[in-house]
Symmetry: C2
Subunit: 389 residues, 2 copies
């Protein structure tokens, strides 16, 4: 009993966290329920039922399968489903007529057609470009072709069947699209936009805090701070960025985004951000390393490094803000300039022979930090350039 109680409490806590992280999840759940209930009216309402009969169930199925979290994903799936159903239906009817001509061999020929299209369509799903955008369409193509050509063998009113199915799917798909656009829409494009800005901010947080953390007096508290962990999510965000970009292309103009907003640019910025995150992973490695190097050297470059790191962090945050507000950058350039200037100062500092006669092994760790920071400045410059385009 206690075990059960603990489990229930655990699940409730998790659910609360899910809602707190993104309250739109609850809204999405309600939207799905709403769409499904509306569509079942086709079944309940007598006059509508008469015209669709059992086919009405396809509208229910369409809603369940097509309704996704973002508008782009829903639209993409809906369009895929609609077009694939039409194409496959037409082809299947053609195949059926062809098979009819042969008379006795009809089932064999139809079986062969089903086999052929299933094998070809399944293979096509392996093409990366097709997989990214039309995977669901191909699935529905196989489904509809098999469905229509196989059941066509029995049902004589094959065209009417296809016609009803397409109509109910259109109703179901339209219901999903309308509800997902009208009721608190979640735009994949905006999600992508925000994700990119958020990732920049995470790196910015790390860089702003890094200097103080690395150069603190050894005796001070060494507890891990959460802002130093945020960058880790950036390392593995490629998959979600790509899928969001794929959804976004389906979306119509909304808010500040035009219909053919350059979503691919976001992927480019995203990969530059990831490159920057790899550098930060190295910095984090220096932070937690056992061998911290000479504290004398550290104190010598402390001020220069901390200021470069802070400027980098600020520059990233300003770039992020510029993305969020979609405005021309104003003070960003000054932060980048500061960072570049700081990097130069750091380079000069490294050149000046302040380390003569110190064990090189003691010099390496802080100097590595300095050179990674200089590298980060280059990274950020590249990001700023791309953002200008």
């Amino acid at each position: 009993w206690r075990c059960l109680k603990a489990k229930v409490v655990d699940i409730t806590m998790n659910a609360k966290k899910l809602v707190k992280d993104d309250p739109r999840r609850v809204i999405h759940s309600l939207k799905v329920g709403l769409a499904l209930t509306l569509v079942s009216i086709i079944y309940y309402y007598q006059p509508l039922y008469k015209s669709f009969e059992v086919s009405g169930i396809w509208a229910v199925m369409t809603v369940v399968v097509v309704f996704e979290f973002s508008v782009g994903a829903t639209l993409g799936k809906g369009i895929n489903r609609g077009v694939a159903t039409l194409l496959a239906g037409a082809l299947a009817i053609g195949a059926h007529h062809l098979a009819d001509l042969t008379g006795q061999g009809e089932p064999i020929l139809l079986g062969f057609f089903v086999f052929l299209q299933a094998a070809i369509s399944t293979f096509m799903r392996f093409f990366p470009k097709i997989k990214a955008r039309y995977d669901y369409g191909l699935l529905i193509f196989i489904l509809t072709f098999s469905f229509v050509s196989v059941s066509g063998f029995r049902v004589d009113e094959i065209i009417e069947l296809a016609h009803k199915r397409v109509l109910t799917i259109l109703i179901g798909g339209a219901m999903c699209v309308i509800i997902s656009i009208v009721v608190f829409p979640v735009w994949a494009g905006e999600e992508l936009h925000n994700l990119i800005a958020l990732n920049m901010e995470k790196l910015g947080n790390f860089l702003e805090g890094f200097g103080d953390e690395y150069f603190q007096v050894p005796g001070e508290s060494k507890e891990k701070k959460t802002f130093l962990e945020g960058y880790k999510a950036v390392l593995n965000s490629k998959t979600s960025e790509e899928s969001l970009a794929n959804f976004a292309v389906w979306e119509p103009a909304h808010g500040r985004f035009k219909f053919r907003h350059p979503w691919k640019q976001y992927l480019k910025i995203g990969s530059l951000i990831r490159e920057c995150a790899y550098r930060i992973e190295s910095l984090n490695g220096c932070l937690i390393a056992d061998m911290q190097g000479s504290s004398e050297i550290k104190s010598k470059i402390r001020e220069a490094c901390t200021s470069v790191s802070k400027d980098c962090g600020k520059a990233l945050k300003e770039l992020a803000l510029a993305i969020r507000t979609m405005s021309q950058r104003s003070s960003t350039d000054s932060h980048i300039k500061n960072a570049k200037f700081g990097a130069k100062r750091l380079t000069t500092l490294l050149k000046s022979g302040i380390w003569e006669h110190i064990d090189l092994l003691q010099v390496i760790p802080p100097v590595t930090v300095a050179s990674i920071l200089i590298d980060v400045v280059n990274c950020i410059e590249k990001i700023a350039e791309l953002e200008n385009e």
Copy 2:
């Protein structure tokens, strides 16, 4: 016309590459075609058709939707679909009886039930653990519940409908599972196993070649070599590793893998490998950097660095081989020992004052390379330790 021809040639080339990269893709396509054709026999064959009638189409649908590339994914989807259909069917019949009692309010109460379960199930799909393993099951749960409870409002033989649907889904699911296991099976577990080994080998390739590439005489050809690019795939392999591990838990014992093989260990090794790959990303950064540093220093540490790098590469490849053959490691330890010894030698070399009076800025690049290499040795040691468990 020319444009079309170019496109056709392009597609053919792509298709050939897909087949060459993994010939099992063709086999998989043929398997799907086979399963679909076999299942449509239910429709064609008179006695079978009599007992299932239109419900036979559910078997076709199940095959199309459930058949996946690996056995684990197919089994997971099949089990999800079967269990979810049973549960949702039972619940929907219960809801239907309950609604029946109220008499006039039946459609309203049923509509409310549909809304409620759709909203709750959709929200449950946001839990990360549920999403990873039971996402498809919840989708089918919503589908079946809506389907049975809505059509139950019309069709009086609701239990028979549910019974037929479950039976046909079992037939379709069983067909998928049997064909995917019997005909050239693709095991997700084995894929994961091989992916981990392959990733190690990619890093090994880089490290084996890195020394010669970095320390080559500047005049020599600077063309990019492909073995230096392989590690990049490792940086972003987290998603595929996780999904393979999720599929693998569904798989029964096969070949060298027992039923409850510790698939989670692979994820741990995978993330260590990725950490190592981040270091290699830094090394690659040094390789392509403009500032290459003093060639005098380079020549001084050339031999030590090259040998550490080679030993690291060999050690990784031996670790990969040990995973592939699932054997106790034999010569690996000697490679790791060599690498550790080389790292110590390199450390001593860095300590000895061979750099006095050289511009520090010229010293940094090669020294950075050396210290990353020492770090890589630590990484590889950790991987070896984990592999021993």
